[in-house]
Symmetry: C2
Subunit: 184 residues, 2 copies
């Protein structure tokens, strides 16, 4: 999704490169795909409060270094993170201004259509999908927007629309106006 989003060339925001302790795969470049570091280095970053968010999956750490994010925000530029639910909730706790877009798996919407045209699927198939959907919905509740990740180009367009629209929020533009007035 991030790749498709930035390939449009229409993005006026930056993305943060994640840090990980997993080994680079073939073709992956340090500082482009990830910052590849040792377990020791990553844990030192955690101890020093230098990670905006992080998580451990299958013995490997993945996370967002705080430095780049802060530097970019200080320049007045938005930062885009493509992260898991766990990490997103850490960002939510640290960045009250952040906007959270939940990418809904396509089958969640398919499920809806299936339930509408009921009877076409075996009950165990439906039940399995519903169970998965319930889990998804619980997580979605903590996000601001939901975008169905079916057709990538449409999802990309919607994410860009959300970002542009969020920039027009009164809560975001208000400080500018207030400062403008306060200066006089």
């Amino acid at each position: 999704m991030r790749k498709a989003l930035f390939e449009t060339g229409a993005t006026d925001f930056s993305y943060s490169i994640s840090m990980t302790t997993r080994k680079p795969r073939k073709g992956e470049v340090n500082g482009v795909d990830y910052y590849f570091v040792s377990k020791e280095e990553f844990e030192e970053n955690i101890r020093n409060g230098e990670m905006l968010e992080y998580a451990k999956y299958v013995d490997n750490y993945y996370g967002t270094p705080l430095k780049y994010v802060n530097e970019t925000l200080d320049q007045g530029k938005d930062v885009f993170l493509e992260i898991e639910v766990n990490g997103a909730m850490q960002v939510r706790a640290n960045c009250p201004d952040a906007v959270f877009v939940f990418l809904t798996p396509p089958d969640l919407m398919e499920l809806k259509h299936r339930l509408i045209g009921r009877g076409t699927d075996a009950m165990d198939v439906i039940n399995k999908r519903i169970k998965k959907a319930v889990g998804e919905i619980r997580m979605m509740r903590n996000y601001d927007y939901a975008v169905v990740n079916d057709e990538v180009s449409q999802a990309v367009e919607r994410i860009q629309m959300i970002i542009r629209s969020e920039r027009l929020r009164v809560t975001r533009v208000m400080p500018d106006y207030e400062q403008m007035i306060g200066d006089e």
Copy 2:
């Protein structure tokens, strides 16, 4: 603004025609530009709770009949209202789901540029503009989005973007998902 918005042909929402007690101007058509009614009829509507919002300007009433708005919303369609601040705050009180876009007059942004390039204007001109701006900003605080009304086509595009983006809000799509799950 409303006219330009609906002239794009890209709108998938309806607009509500206002009701007024003022006399039709040349070329204005009843049921197109306004519902033109008598003072007695308007006041009966108010008494019967049939107005979503209304205000009185220079001896004439202007307002939004509740019936059309409710019927359209019941069909699952969004309704667009182009109304004054006073009316908007009445809608805010009655419709917690509504989204409020404040059209910022172009001079409010011009003012900013003027203040940046200070010294080009006489202080009394600047002061007058600032006073007006302060009033605008106070009202803006009660809105969700601010759109600068400088170039109409750009403002129209932004309003459409806000509407499409707001439809992706988790709080709006959540009931659908919950109902889908709850049905099982």
